[in-house]
Amino acid sequence: MTPLLGLFWCELRLSYRQGGDIGLALGFFVLAVLMFPFGVGPEPELLGRIGAGIIWVAALLASVLSLDRLFAADYADGGLDLIALSPAPLELVVLAKGAAHWVTTGLPLTAISPVLAILVDLDPSAIPVLMLGLLIGTPALSLLGAIAAALSLGARRPGILVSLLVLPLYLPPLIFGTGAVEAVLAEEGSRAHLLLLGAVTLFALPLAPLAAAAALRQALD
């Protein structure tokens, strides 16, 4: 097996074995969305209007919570040394780990989003665009999150630092993701929003591995 494929499988098997990983992110996502009808009141009209925003914000927060999985354990147990000595470039290591993170968070969040859309009374015609947006946008969450996760290695309270670093970076996907749904609700085309969302992901695809790998090298020293 090549080093990168080995890493990818290792990450997937670890999160499957530890069970809680996927479940925790999903559970947090569902509970965070469920809080809103209690907080803002159960009027279907209001909920339907802000539903897409609720779901996207909850997805961002669920993604932030699971970012510590990316590198923290390898940093603490010395595995990062062995990864650095592997023939695979660190940039591609970040990409492999980011891909595994997306499969265990972004993908399940996207899959469960229609159920939550019904819970917040989002118009059913907007659900396909919501899902498509999440499918395009969540890889950017994993990639941008990898930068913050790598930068926070060795910090005293990495969890809080990760949130502070990453939430500003999550603004563009949030804006275009909710924008696409609102465009459908206003009976306009959502194509432009989805294209911009795709641009964010494509921008993060080369940038995040470079930045995160540089941060990992710093952490190794």
Partner: protein
Amino acid sequence: MVDVESGLAIDGELIAEGLACRRGERLVFTGLDCLLPAGGALVLRGSNGSGKSSLLRLFATLLAPEAGRLLWGGAPVMRDAARYRAAVHYVGHLDATKPAFTPREMLSFWAALRGNAAPAIDAALAALALDAVADRPCRWLSAGQRRRLTLARLVAAPAPIWLLDEPNAALDGDGDERLAGLIAEHRAGGGRVAIATHQPVALEGAAVVMLDDFAASAEAALAVWQ
């Protein structure tokens, strides 16, 4: 001479020339020269904080030297870092085991990370007497067993240079003997080993590096700063 399994030239010498190491604000050692020929052994000794682990991490290219250089087969190691790293096994203080994985899975993952497609997992487990726990999650292993598992990496995916940082820590008498046997076998086959330890080791013909002898003087520290 070329090692059959790894395909690497194993008769090149590993040479350190005037190595200096800085950790944070402190210059740990300067002007360190040493030589590790094929079949050779280097024992690093010194008081706590004298830089034994740092020297091993320099050898592993995990740290960059403040001054000096490292040569492998006559060329600077960073000229072809990937090839040099493929020749190195680094066993540090930490054991890098994942609690949810079994020793067998850990060994095949570590071998895959090195790009080794056909690791000798069963031989490695047998060499460190881990057969009985091979399919049990690592979270149930004792500290000594985890240490043995880390050392089993050396057997599972062969490489000509072993860098061992306190490899005896947590090992029992039987483990010590097995490790000594592995090192002897490795050297007989032309492999080389650098080992940092406080315990007495019986390594035939080993060169000893006393790191306290290379502790940076005030003038040397100033020279590097400038």
